[in-house]
Symmetry: D3
């Protein structure tokens, strides 16, 4: 397999194709221009400076360009940094499709659609079923492209859909094990719980909060979408089933201080909250652990209460069974 | 002026007309039935026991009946209690209209409507103006009857409208003094900020939370109403002015832990939050201070962080100027 | 099916066999003795007073006796109460085995042992495997009898084992879905996480904290047991695998303020914490919802941050599929 | 109108008179001296570096000097920065009075005195009236020069007096609307509430905390001043009116954790607390919004719980009425 | 030694002299009068009901009367209660001096004065020395009678002086062990730290908060006293030594949320805070442990964060050495 | 006395022997290598850069080397920094023993052993006595070398032992003054309370947390050691005396959120907690105050809730008595 950016260890000589994610023109104290380039491939991002940059280079090395870089992995202020020795644009005979360097969901869109459809089939409550289908239809494109967060977890193209699918997988076991769970409510709530993010966030690249995201927030934005769907579908918004669906979504952050306007007051709301936590947290831990050597701790992870996580040297997982 | 229930001091002989607010049939340990009656007039509520109650009495003394009571104001477990010596139904020659005994807003409905109209006239932003008028029209009856809370503040018939009017009065000065305030936003936000309570609460008598109130809450319920109004009026929900209006309402509890899904991020949101606080807290303090003797402290007020408030013996207020 | 205590509605005439869980001799103000009896069957507990109790009755009606009671379900201070009209001991021809009236795990011991053994088989790390087997052997009897808590969740005979088995079921899916999990660590940690409760609590009936439970707590008590097991088995306590096992157990309360001396710092610790939360909370909610009518809210549940949970009138669960 | 420092946009060529607020001599890594100068005018402050500074320049460019600067508005680490191309001292024919460049209260001193006197006239309680007049007399000069805080709000010459006047304006409406307020107490408390700042802070320029400010704090310092005034005026410190006056001032931070030794326990204390909040917060928001483009958010404001505030593109305020 | 009230175990027959601390006339539901009497001796307080009380008895059994009681120690709602079988006034030949039944400091006043004088002698800073002597002189009588708190700790006649002396004893060792402590500051601060309680509390019997105590609080009240003392003694209030003295007293609650208007910012302030904590907490624990059987836990102690404390069955203290 | 590193004021010419604590090879932006050296002597640490460093110098100037430095005390980003003008290795005729430059306990090991032995002699409870002696024997070397923390307090060679001895000194007075304290428990708990640090920390130089320290923490590590000691000594771990000893150690952080798995529930636990606080905090304050000029405040001290402490200009301590 091709060696990726983060497969190189500290001080190793680096030589590979990379996507330019962003650039910034800056000046040394002495006034000389240089270009700070953020490179990326599917293993992560790293920054490097191109010193004494020429005007031609400034025009050439712009976001979305794929380049070939020779250099060295170094460290600056405790952060990995790429010393650029040689850099050139990739040509057409080389892997110059930017999509190749962007992290995306490990499942392809067709698989995810199939899995979703299987689940929607089991939403037997008619109102919930219609609302879910209406909204997935309305935001079909965005749902399968949007990240699940700006940077914390599943922050990649398709992250929202993948996060939703993962939670549904967990939900199935829960639901098998505890007999009294309302499956329609659990599945419909899960599918829609973060759909507001397609409005809250600007999309999968250079993700920012939109003005709606800032002022209203994804939790109320999806409630707005359900209200509109009900108007369109002539479903009243205040029957028990619609209220329950809206409630489990409004409450999915679990506590008021995390932005839910109501606390979970039905069982399915509490379950959705925990499934969301588990999937988001495992994703965040995996992300940071993948950049950590066995026997070391990750850096502090803000969204995990500033904890650092240990990557053991011993292993014992699926792979072993497959031997 | 007629003497009211709370005008009688401890151990005084009481004799007056009262409304029965609620009753509960109970039994002594020895198995004898008695009736616990909660009486009320505009000065407040008090409970008393009717011992050895007969089946006829059980039928006669029901909620909404107006009665004439002779008895004594006593205390039980630190709470005022009415010892019932004699009780009978009020007859038609007596003040037997239940409405006479229920606390209501100090302004009548016409005055409040006039004041509201004056303010709406100054909402020059067309979308905000139309949304406000649409919703006040839709919930006209409820807006002027609903209390502003189940029990904390303005918990009386018309309390919601009166609380809104009071805040508008304060808003006018604020707005006079600080030049850059967006008046349309401030007024429209203020008028709608608690309108969700007409759905959250069951109405002015025996006020309870509705299922929608419990599961969705008045903050999101009014957002739902704005969304619906926009659909009806063909106003998009995501233009800056509508987003701002929704934001100042969603944020009016000031902090996430008090149930707002977003914190105030525009100046008018912060101002509405503080005006709400001031008017609600003054109303709560006045309520308890009105039942407290000068030189004493009120009982602990839960909604004011369990503080007790002192009622000074010295006075120095408007009334004095009017001599 | 036999009618259980909580199958009777308010004011219904009750007639059934019950176990006496506890009793208290008390006196009326007038000095007459009476006996407060707490009855139970598998649907829950209820209290009733036996007035004018005779010395013979005091001797007869003691904890662990099975009785036949005629009476009425009433309410006192908002709590259900049983008015005793007739009471007598059950005789040998009647269902007088106390075990019949005590709530217990829905799986029998053999099934639970089998499930555990299947999982232990997959703990391929030798130290973890040996420690788990050593301790389950040492506390075999207690593990299958102990409740999982004094009163909050799984507070019944076998509750600890059942809670552990339930978490293992959930763990299997998690582990299937996320590829890098250390199965030995996850399973061994799960099995032992609450084992300290066999020392912390006094057992399945009239459960109290032991002095060790109070002063040391179940989290450190199980660590003590692992230390002792290591001594016995000649396994060092400070190799990475043993440290990891101890860590995931010490950290399973998730946060310092909930009594874990360290916060989760490996992925499996975080997962165990969440699985514990989910299973315990679903169990608590089910307990209270089973005593609540559809369309009502439960009473406030202290261990769920004083929330009340709504029992919907609509249903949509497994049972329906099985029609 | 003259163009001010913050009227220039990013990358604009700057040319204007500025006051030097402070300077710092520093060295490059290579050991060459340079001077970091903080410039200011009434629109705010900005920093720039004077490279290869000569000894004569070091003597010339000192705090309080007015200079003429040509340069460019740039950005460094996300902060605005002034690149100095040319700099020289302003001469006598130019606007070289430092006072012209310092922000001050929008009302002049005479107007503020007049407004204060009007209010003092309404303090009919003799003790409160005498104490207020005694202390305003004692600290007359400082009261009209002191800022209201080191940096958070009203941090300018006359800020304390202006903050006080603004709160009094708001107080008048409050007091009009709620009938039972003790006006003497409200006005006297308001006027004195922050007077301790004249001792706590070092004055309007280069404001620092004094040792008294650090060790005692302005809340207790004004209480000390009232105690001394009472001694001087032969007023006992423990009559109800003086206790109330002291209480509303001691309690004006609203909560213990914000430094009030007692929580508000009379109505006027609660009102003063909220008026203080409103005026301080509006002032802070205005300050940051005035440096923000419409459609953007301010930077995070520490004293407003790190929130960022949005500056709408739509406007609708007084100015419009004046057309 | 005479047997005290709390020397009798549950259900024991009680026969002893007791002081009546307070009484309350009440009525049974049936309307019969009875008298609830709170008895006390130096071991604690207990309540009992005198049924069918006659008018003569009502006059006879009033607070401060010493009585002889025969009865039984019982329990009601988990609280100890005294069943009164016989009661009569103590006559002159019996121990009828109320002072004999009131808990007081274990040191007599002379000893305490001597200890204080020794310490004052070591306060070499002249201002601190003069302020301490002035205030101890001014409040001499109150200082040696006042309790140190309404009910939490040292709530007895002389408690304030005894608490102060105890802290001084601890301070001496601290001061011996850490060389750089300012002894004048430590001793003067300690002596005055709680002196405000002589104004805050109403005195040693039936202790209540005064209006000054409620509205100003003992922390600011002692600062007021120091200000007045300085005026009287012509000592400026703003020299470093006086500021330090005031600071260590203002800061002695350690944190703002416990009512100190400033946090400790000099070493001696931090030390005084901890000595206060240690002495107060040991006193509270001893109080509750003295009413607890070995092997049991105390009831929850509110002022110790609702903890219950265990009284071990093993002992190992001074007494043993003295064998 | 020899002049130490921190005896030189800002901008003073420095000339003295220093130990190299650590070094880091770095490069200027222009790519030239330089060496950042952290020097130390018993007064503290300071960093300096050796520019244009040669390969020979890189080999010569390594951690643990003693060097002679001429240079100047400067400041960089508010931190003291040493400008290196001349540097050379110390030769054998000079003070080149690294131990001379490392801060250590002010008492020598023999004195500390003696003091410990005196106290152990008073631990009359046989189990506690044997456990204490067993563990001090097992970790004898580490106990007298380990610091008491990584950086907060007593962070020097022998710091753990010295911190323990200091607390024992304070304990003796406490124990003299309050009669019912269990001396065995207090002394044994104190001696062992931080012993887990010999496993948690890597030792006195370049102190880091070990993996055991991170994953288990010193509080549970010492409990593990007591469990092992009990196994070895055939003492049961669940007798009351051993439970109490373990409890006071487990609870010594005082609150769950500070990492104790149980809160103090016996008096001696509470006392140990406070003695630990006092000694640690005085040590931290002294450390920072020793680097602060009289009349100044220290920098913010993180472990003291970010407070800054004032160093008074007035003094009044032991030293003065000794004149």
């Amino acid at each position: 397999m091709e060696k990726k950016l983060y497969d190189y260890e500290m001080d190793a000589i680096v030589e590979l194709f990379l996507l330019i994610k962003s650039t910034a023109e800056r000046k040394t104290r002495a006034g000389k221009p240089f270009l700070t380039i953020t490179f990326q491939d599917t293993s992560g991002e790293m920054t490097g400076n191109l010193w004494d940059v020429s005007p031609e280079q400034l025009e050439m090395y712009t976001p979305s360009a794929v380049v070939h870089v020779k250099g060295k992995r170094e460290e600056y202020n405790g952060q990995p940094q790429l010393r650029i020795d040689k850099i050139r644009l990739a040509d057409d005979s080389e892997p110059n499709n930017p999509e190749l360097y962007v992290k995306r969901a490990p499942l392809n869109r067709e698989t995810m659609i199939e899995k979703l459809n299987d689940v929607i089939f089991e939403i037997t409550n008619p109102s919930m079923n219609r609302i879910v289908r209406f909204l997935l239809n309305k935001y079909n494109k965005e749902f399968f492209h949007s990240p699940a967060a700006k940077s914390n977890h599943h922050a990649f193209n398709g992250g929202l859909a993948y996060h939703t699918i993962s939670m549904l997988e967990l939900a199935k076991t829960i639901e098998d094990y505890y007999p009294n769970i309302n499956r329609s409510l659990l599945y419909a709530g899960l599918i829609l719980h973060d759909l507001g993010k397609v409005i809250e966030l600007s999309g999968p690249t250079a993700t920012e909060y939109t003005l709606e995201g800032q002022l209203i927030g994804h939790i109320v934005l999806v409630d707005q979408e359900i209200t509109k769907a009900c108007e369109e579908l002539k479903i009243p918004t205040d029957t028990e089933d619609v209220l329950l669906l809206r409630h489990v979504i409004l409450a999915h952050h679990g506590q008021l201080e995390y932005g839910s306007p109501v606390r979970p007051q039905v069982k399915e709301a509490e379950i959705i909250h925990y499934l969301d936590q588990i999937d988001a947290k495992i994703n965040m831990m995996e992300d940071d652990l993948s950049k950590t050597e066995p026997g070391d701790f990750t850096t502090k992870i803000w969204a995990l209460e500033n904890r650092r996580f240990y990557k053991p040297t011993i292993t014992d997982h699926h792979a072993e069974d497959e031997d």
